[in-house]
């Protein structure tokens, strides 16, 4: 029995050894995809900032100044992106920032 199994084990090991170079990059890609799946830092920051526009008028002056500062820091990160993503998110950020700046001006003029 053992003598019969030996060639089988050899074939299996050989198969694994040959197929490894093919599967390894695929596995690596899959791992990368899993890594890319969570939101990137800038996107999470973008979502957090821009989800607050609804409350802009209820925010205090200091809060608004802080969020405007976050917008400006985020803008630098988005400017480093490429192509359409950069164009779209710069525009979206500009709109969010505009609401906060609008609210701040409103509070400071009161």
């Amino acid at each position: 029995m053992r003598t019969k199994l030996k060639p089988l084990i050899f074939v299996a090991v050989a198969l694994i050894a040959f197929s490894a170079p093919t599967f390894l990059p695929v596995a690596a890609c899959a791992a990368q995809a899993v890594e890319a799946a969570p939101q990137s830092d800038w996107q999470a920051e973008f979502d957090d900032i821009c989800s607050k526009t609804q409350d802009a008028m209820a925010m205090g002056v200091d809060e608004l100044k802080a969020v405007l500062d976050r917008c400006d820091k985020l803008k630098v990160k988005i400017e480093a992106l490429e192509g359409t993503q950069r164009k779209v998110y710069l525009r979206r950020l500009e709109m969010c920032r505009g609401v906060f700046a609008f609210a701040l001006e409103s509070k400071e003029k009161k």
Partner: protein
């Protein structure tokens, strides 16, 4: 006396002709044409017909904010400078028109593709690149708006009432694009007094506007002034497409519908 009368009449005729030549008579669009946008930044250069975008279909399904804030379309026709590559990458039209998003039980057709289609496939391009081609459409204006409350102008639909009555359910969120936001705190309505004596006041409803637009569509791009009355504008500015005229007269009910804004009776 007769000579004088003749001179006066001649002058009147001449000034009339002069004014008529200076003015531009606009053709009032048909209900299904109202809100139509023709986009031709790159189309003809790429050998395609310009894109015809019908607002009536999209505004009956989605909020203005979804497209103009979350997806990032500019408020002016052609202002976004959309390229096929943008759509293919899943931005702008391609955010929904990607062949994967399912709407009303079927996938939303993909807007652009990396290769140029030929033969029967070319009809796919013509679904959007359709100026002068008049391709068959999935949605028919008359059928789509059948049973909606009637408006007097524009699309002849009172979209605001259609939304209030639940005849249209506006989507305001697309997974992967929109941001989850808390419910909007509604700002107070206010009235604006026109300068013309005897003209009814304008009641501006924040509630009605924010359902469709959120905050970002109007502030600060369209209405810069913070305090009520700080931004001075005239009806002429509005007719020229500024302030309220960015939407009203283009997509939202037109400016001929005076009473819908000037709604507070004169005291």
């Amino acid at each position: 006396m007769k000579k004088l009368l003749f001179v006066v009449l001649a002058l009147l005729v001449c000034t009339g002709v002069a004014f008529a030549q200076a003015g531009v008579k606009k053709k009032r669009p048909l209900p299904y044409e109202y809100g139509r946008v023709v986009i031709n930044n790159y189309s003809e250069g790429a050998g395609l017909a310009p894109v015809v975008f019908d607002h009536w279909l999209h505004r009956g399904l989605y909020t203005c904010r979804l497209c103009h804030v979350d997806i990032g379309f500019a408020m002016k026709a052609g202002g976004t400078s959309i390229k096929a590559a943008d759509n293919i990458a899943g931005y702008y039209c391609g955010a929904c028109h990607n062949g994967k998003m399912v709407f009303a039980g079927k996938p939303v057709f993909a807007s652009c593709a990396p290769k140029k289609f030929t033969g029967d496939e070319a009809t796919r391009c013509e679904r959007c690149h359709s100026l002068g081609l008049n391709p068959p459409r999935d949605y028919d204006f008359a059928r789509f708006t059948d049973g909606f409350p009637r408006g007097r102008f524009g699309n002849n639909v009172d979209w605001e009432k259609a939304e209030e009555d639940g005849l249209i359910k506006l989507t305001d969120y697309i997974e992967g694009i929109s941001i989850k936001r808390p419910t909007l705190t509604i700002q107070n309505d206010f009235n604006l007094s026109p300068k013309v004596e005897g003209m009814p006041d304008i009641i501006f409803s924040h509630k009605k506007h924010t359902i469709w637009n959120g905050c970002e569509v109007c502030h600060p791009e369209i209405f810069i002034g913070i305090k009520k009355g700080n931004t001075k504008y005239t009806m002429q500015d509005i007719f020229d497409g500024r302030y309220c005229g960015v939407c009203h007269g283009v997509v939202a009910f037109p400016l001929l519908d005076c009473q819908r804004c000037h709604s507070r009776p004169v005291q």
